[in-house]
Amino acid sequence: MSTLEPIQVGLSNALLAPERPLPPGVITWNGSDPSVRFDVYRNNVVVSLTTALAEGFPVTRALVGERFFAAMARCFIADHLPSSPILSDYGDALPDFIAAFPPAQGLSYLPDLARLERARVQAYHAADAPALTAQDLACQLANPQRLSAARLALHPACIVLVSEHAIVSLWAAHQGQGRIEDVDLRRAESALVLRDGDAVLVLPLSLEIGHFLVALAAGAPLGEAAEIAAAAGPDVDLTQAIVLLIHYGGIAAWHTPGDL
């Protein structure tokens, strides 16, 4: 057990909350007041993490306003030390935090909108992986009775979202596509977020296809996912879903039970 760890824990706890006392043993080289110097450090940490959140959630920030976002970010930061040295990972927990944040309770669409913004960052930074082409998949047609049991691994940069709110239209309206006033927030929407070259795309999906892809992403076999899609609504176009996945390189692997 390292003796460094309790010092580090004490330091990081004190950094994130100004009301906490200075960690023991903090001194200054020139005899000036260590609590004043430590406040500068505290301020730099909080400001840089707030800026990271603000840049990762621009639409969330625009919707609640600069001051609300900054106050919410401060509450979030107090309980969330970065768990990775990669700054773009910071904020993965913000959507769940917003869902439980009492002042944001009136904005029921906000957690899912934040999830969409986070998905775009995650898709952008996701690992590269080879994708299966139409030629690769043609052999699957030789055994159509085995299709139902097949499980697909989606590409790491593919993230499917289904929301009870019109988060896709709302997000698009903030990119200059459509008018915010025309968005009916009570309408459920779904989207597939993925990477095309270096660009991150947000592709609107029907709810049926959204549920189909959510089930596939969770590891359900094709047949079960198709039944989930059929239960979600009358308009199940599996062809469109598969065309979309093949076209954008969304299928990383195709496993049929019994295959080596």
Partner: protein, 101 residues
Amino acid sequence: MTQSRAIQTTTAAALALALGTALTFGNTAIAGEGAAKEKCYGIALKGQNDCAAGPGTSCAGTSTVDYQGNAWKLVPAGTCEKTAAPTSPTGQGQLAAFKDV
């Protein structure tokens, strides 16, 4: 039991059909994507046009005012002339460049 087997058979057939159709689309899916879009003039907000904003500009993202009549944006086919464009004589986006009113 029989009913659930019937559902499974239907699903298997639907999956085979979906995959088969999807594979025959093959690479033409990419071309089809282009066909489902149309160039729509006069609907792009300032700096958000996809291309064409007059001589001397470098195209995408260069329109200088909202709803500029000679700047277009790619939109899903069929939606252009339903999109509001305050600068357009018709009040909606148009499929060809127009002079702002």
